[in-house]
Amino acid sequence: MNKFKKWYSEGTPWLWISASSIALCLVIVIGIVGYISIQAIPHFWPAPIETIQITSKNGVTAEYYGELYAEETVRKKVEENNGNGKSKYKTVIVDSSNYKISNNDFIWIDNSIIDKRQIEKDSVVFERREKGNLYAKLLKIKENDVVLEDSRQTWEELQARIERVAELHEQISEIQKDKIGAINYQQEKIRLHIRYLELKNKITDADSKQAQADNQKLQDEYNILSQELNNLRKELQRDSVTVVTKGIGGETEQVVPVENIVRAYRPNNLSVLGKTGVYFDRLGEYLFDEPREANTEGGVFPAIFGTVMMVLLMTVFVTPFGILAAIYLREYAKQGYLTRLIRIAVVNLAGVPSIVYGVFGLGFFVYVLGEHIDELFFPEALPTPTFGTPGILWSAITLALLTLPVVIVTTEEGLSRIPRALREGSLALGATKSETLWKVILPISTPSMITGLILAIARAAGEVAPLMLVGVVKMAPTLPLDGNFPYLHMERKFMHLGFHIYDVGFQSPNVEAARPLVFATAFLLIVVIILLNIVAIILRNRLREKYKSITG
């Protein structure tokens, strides 16, 4: 009893509760990162296709091909007859399975009504360009409506044809996006040039003739390309496959044009190596391809590209100002009223909600600066705004303001760790203050600046709210960097990984079906951000050690 009293009076339970608080924080971090990883990493792994036979309560039997999506324990209200004719509802807890029958179609099956689950070797997943996955068995391949006879090679034949279609799609995309895109871009430039001359009243007949000739030339090129495009499209339609699917009505045959198939594989028939192949194939598609089906399928390449590009642009703006401010605070300013004020400003910049930066960016950069830039430099495009509309440049500048305090604080911390002796030594040798700065202080403190930049990048990569106002879009038709002069198009809108999560996770028509993709994106983002942070932490710790040894 005495011991118990002591245990209490010493505050041991409280101590443990505090320990439990930090433990909870760690559990939360581990939980979040772990959960996202568990959801995201297996997403590209080919899951087995099950053949499920069920008999429902009213005796109807059905068969499905499906991928097990989730198994859960849920509460279900069950009607019970309590003897005197009145029915009563009771909640029972049942185990059930959620099967993905096709991409946009889930069915929820109570485990008790499943008669048989089996794995058949020849079940095929057809990943389609439209309408998601199809689970079926391959029956035959048709070329120009003629059935291919050699059934032994059907599977290899199908793969070859899918590959052919993929190549055709690539050619089409190249013509459509790159070549025709370039023609459109040039035509628009000619139009704007003429409009510019008109506005300046400097237009001559020669100019308009030249423009007409140029336009004609582009139009001719366009005609040739569109002819080519038509031929390719015809080529695409050559093959089709007939497959057998299962459902409530029994087996049905279905014709799928090969042009609509991205990939076909038999997960039940694949070795681990084969599955790994499919895994990396799908992962590659995710990382390097364009999105399909309103962003819920395919890749996120434009979003990765947009995020990286915006963040890099941001670094260009934030680096000089952040470092200069830190140098001012630590090296130049007399510690007094003004530095107090600046420090308060830094703290406030760090604490102002990000959405306020968005509001400021939209109002000041887009509407005030952007419109003046348009009036001065792009009057020919008006009333269509060039910089007077949200875009990647304004996003980068807005986020540069947002991350400015991160760079300042980290750089200043680095500067503060440089021993006085180094500065005094340099000054004593007759170097000016600027020479000391350039030759002594900056080289030593570079790692701390890099740390600041890395942290700024990590912060900017995960920030979404302000971008929604100053430049991010759901679907950008063109990347901000392409082959058309001046290559870097800073006025364009862009896609962003964080916004992709918000948009696909909350705005897409079938949130459930898109969820694995959102997890993949969340995982990608979180991995990049955690890696950046870890690098920053390691750099900082090393730096501290280093200065310890200098001072020591």
Partner: protein
């Protein structure tokens, strides 16, 4: 000599470089201040127009020729170039505001005698001219715009007859008693249209003609021609005999209500939306002491829901239909009084699409009043005597024309944001169509003449509510965690734990929002009991584990002091899993069993008489929203979710600052306390936390600032409904989320746009206060520590 010159040169070069570096560095330092000041100034600059009153500026004046007198109606078209004047004889004059002369005249009723004229409400009005001969014609002025070049355009007026140029007879001449018999007198009856009223939609026109002691309701509907694009209006007339002697006849735009008003204040409301129009309500628009008061103006405001009446005593009031209870019939109710006029009301001219109006007083003073905000935005003496003054407001409310004694004046008006007043933003407002004053934020709607509802109260309330629940979750955990990490944890663990919390801070909020909105929300809905049990269970298990210490001969006590978390992490994980596993079953068992029986007996019900309703309670979640349970609303995206998700977002901020503050408490203090025999925990509570309390306070301030401005989590997991309800099971809409939702579609420069800037400005100021306070406090603390 040469050597020395070189040295000097180099020196100056070096000095210049030194100076240049200095200038650039100073600029860099000042840049931070400039950015903050710029944000402040710019946001303020966008917000400022909301709080300015309207202004007017005289542009031109002209005399009307004498033959163009007896004007009874006036109208401005959208480009503000043409003022249309309508005389009591039905003549229309199109007056150019720029040239100061009449550019076109039309006499649509030349052949007839006009006895009454009325116009429809809203933009591009149609005029109904009642004739002496028991008939009316409809005339519509139309304007086409011709571009002379890119910047100049000319507006060309014309008139149209929607029903054709011939009058439509509503009171036919009686047949003679003995038709064809010579010498018999035809009975003369009064067929003069004494008063007329008209309103219309695209599809329907209703004209009310007051003849003798009857009113004739002509309801016309549009029919598309079968073969061509021609449209025709057809319909029938209904005649009602009247008790009233109406002085004002008002029809709403939907043509459902007809309101007849006498000068004495009596009103009669008819339902004209049915086949047989009938009286539904009568009453008085003047109060008890209204015997001496006379109504001198009655008009319908834009949107056709409200009527505004003014009296000779200068009182002005707004009326619309409300219900006393949900099933009651709607009654015309006085919802607002405007007390701005010291002289009798001469006339009221409503705006075309907003809820504003210009009230002309007998002393010639014109007051621009906005109904929703109950605000007088501008008062000016446009007239010498109000009784003769006519005023026309431009559809865009950026100009007016006034006419008095043949003198016509054109003014520019700047009246952009009359919707904003202290009461409109912060107090309950009685909006049209509502049965009582309420706090509502509803900024836009599909319809053009919708009454915008700009109450800041629900948004600010939502912001506070979200921050409150987040802090409720975060503060205890973060402060305790910070205290433990700084004071008890072994240095080796601390080196791992601190970066991990930094990573927690780096988790993008969009991911937290996604997890909270899509996974946590449904999970908590299914495990409501579990989430309430969880904190208790975690404390219980932690305390149980700590009891190990007093187990005698404890061989298991291998965890060194300062490394308690090593054992606690797995224990917490198990606790969480166990709690939800158990609660799943406990929930059903409790709420279908003992607890439900308790509610039943509390509700005074017998088990045998159980209704099917009661049987629908199966879990805590059912119980919350059930009529026999708590009976409050339950929303899947609620404050619990926000508390947890946003709590997770702010924990690292509070943690780091708390940890720093506690870690930097001078060792001499703690050593002193320990030396005096206090246990570590006692030292912690009595010495360390007290010393570091300003630092902890500043940590909480920073956390609060973050919680107030957090956007993505609230946007994704709070449901975004702007309601005022502290219910933990309801969501909210915060200022920040509101900006993110509405900014992309807010029209630039509009009141809505500026209000969103005001939201941003408010957040800016709030966080500025919190951050500055926090910085000042921690600065003081640093000074104090350094002196110790």
């Amino acid at each position: 000599m040469k050597h020395q010159q070189n040295l000097e040169k180099a020196l100056t070069g070096r000095n210049i470089r030194d100076l240049l570096t200095r200038v650039i560095v100073y600029l860099g330092g000042g840049f931070v201040l400039i950015v903050l000041a710029l944000m402040f100034v710019y946001l303020g600059y966008e917000v400022y127009p909301l709080f300015t009153s309207a202004s007017s500026e005289s542009v031109s004046q002209a005399e009307l020729p004498h033959d163009k007198s007896a004007i009874v109606h006036m109208q401005l078209e959208e480009q503000n170039q043409i003022t249309t004047l309508i005389s009591k004889y039905g003549d229309m004059f199109f007056f150019s505001n720029d040239d100061g002369k009449v550019v076109r005249s039309e006499s649509p009723a030349e052949k007839y005698k006009v006895s009454a004229i009325a116009r429809t409400t809203g933009d591009s009005p149609i005029y109904a001219m009642g004739l002496e001969s028991g008939s009316f014609i409809l005339v519509k002025p139309v304007f086409s715009t011709k571009y002379i070049d890119a910047d100049t355009k000319e507006v060309i007026p014309a008139i149209e007859y929607p029903l054709g140029a011939d009058p439509r007879t509503v009171k036919p001449a009686p047949l003679s008693v003995a038709d064809g018999v010579e010498g018999d007198a035809v009975i003369e009856i009064d067929r003069r249209v004494k008063k007329i009223a008209v309103n219309r939609t695209e599809e329907k026109i209703t004209v009310i003609s007051h003849i003798g002691n009857e009113i004739v309701i002509s309801r016309l509907e549009r029919e598309e021609g079968f073969l061509d694009d021609s449209t025709e209006w057809s319909g029938s007339d209904v005649t009602l005999s009247l008790e009233a002697k109406p002085d004002y006849i008002i029809v709403d735009q939907q043509q459902l209500n007809l309101i007849l008003i006498e000068k004495s204040g009596l009103f009669f409301r008819y339902n004209i939306g049915t086949d047989v129009p009938h009286e539904v309500e009568r009453g008085s628009l003047l109060g008890e002491g209204g015997a001496q008061e006379k109504i001198t103006a009655a008009v319908m405001l834009a949107g056709s829901n409200s009527i505004v009446v003014g009296t000779d005593k200068g009182s002005i009031s707004q009326w619309f239909l409300t219900r006393k209870s949900t099933n009651a019939n709607p009654n015309l109710t006085k919802t607002r009084e405007f007390g701005a006029i010291n002289s009798g009301v001469a006339a009221i001219f409503p705006e075309n699409s907003r809820r504003g109006m210009a009230v002309v007083a007998n002393n010639g003073k014109v007051s621009f009043i906005y109904a929703t905000s109950n605000r007088v935005v501008l008062q000016k003496n446009y007239f010498t005597k109000g009784a003769d003054g006519i005023l026309a407001i431009s559809p865009r409310v950026n100009a007016i024309t006034t006419l008095e004694n043949g003198k016509i004046s054109f003014y520019h008006i700047d009246n952009e944001h009359p919707e904003i007043s202290y009461s409109a933003l912060w107090q309950k407002v009685w909006y049209e169509g509502y049965d009582a004053p309420e706090y509502i934020w509803q900024s836009s709607s599909a319809s053009n003449d919708f009454e915008a509802k700009f109450s800041f109260a629900p948004l600010v309330f939502g912001t506070i509510k979200a921050a409150f629940y987040a802090m409720l979750f975060a503060v205890p955990i973060a402060v305790l965690a910070g205290a433990y990490t700084a004071y008890f944890m072994t240095p080796g663990l601390r080196k791992v734990v601190k970066p991990t919390v930094e990573i927690m801070a780096a988790l993008p909020t969009v991911i937290l929002g996604f997890l909270a909105g899509l996974l946590l929300a449904p999970f908590i809905e299914n495990n409501l009991l579990g989430i309430f049990l969880l904190p208790l269970m975690m404390i219980l298990f932690t305390v149980l584990v700590s009891l190990w210490k007093i187990v005698p001969n404890n061989k298991l006590n291998i965890i060194p002091e300062g490394a308690e978390i090593v054992i606690l992490i797995p224990i917490l994980m198990v606790t969480i899993a166990l709690t939800f596993y158990l609660s799943h079953h406990l929930d059903v068992w409790l709420f279908e069993g003992p607890l439900r029986n308790l509610f039943i007996s509390n509700a005074g019900l017998e088990h045998e008489t159980l209704t099917g309703e009661m049987l629908n309670i199966h879990s805590m979640r059912d119980w919350v929203s059930h009529a026999y349970g708590l009976n409050i609303d339950f929303n899947m995206r609620n404050s619990i979710i926000i508390g947890i998700a946003m709590g997770i977002a702010v924990i690292p901020n509070i943690f780091s600052i708390t940890e720093d503050a506690i870690f930097s408490v001078p060792k001499s203090l703690t050593s002193g306390s320990l030396a005096l025999g206090a246990t570590p925990w006692q030292t912690m509570v009595k010495v360390v936390i007290l010393t570091a309390s300003p630092g902890i306070f500043s940590a909480i301030m920073i956390g609060l600032g973050r919680a107030i401005g957090e956007t993505m989590i609230v946007l994704m997991a709070a449901g975004n409904t702007p309601i005022m309800d502290f219910n933990i099971f309801e969501g909210m809409r915060t200022l920040a989320a509101n900006i993110a939702v509405e900014m992309p579609e807010a029209e630039r420069g509009s009141t809505h746009f500026r209000l969103l800037f005001l939201s941003g400005f408010t957040l800016f100021i709030l966080t500025f206060i919190f951050n500055t306070l926090s910085e000042v406090i921690s600065h003081r603390l640093r000074k104090k520590y350094s002196s110790m």
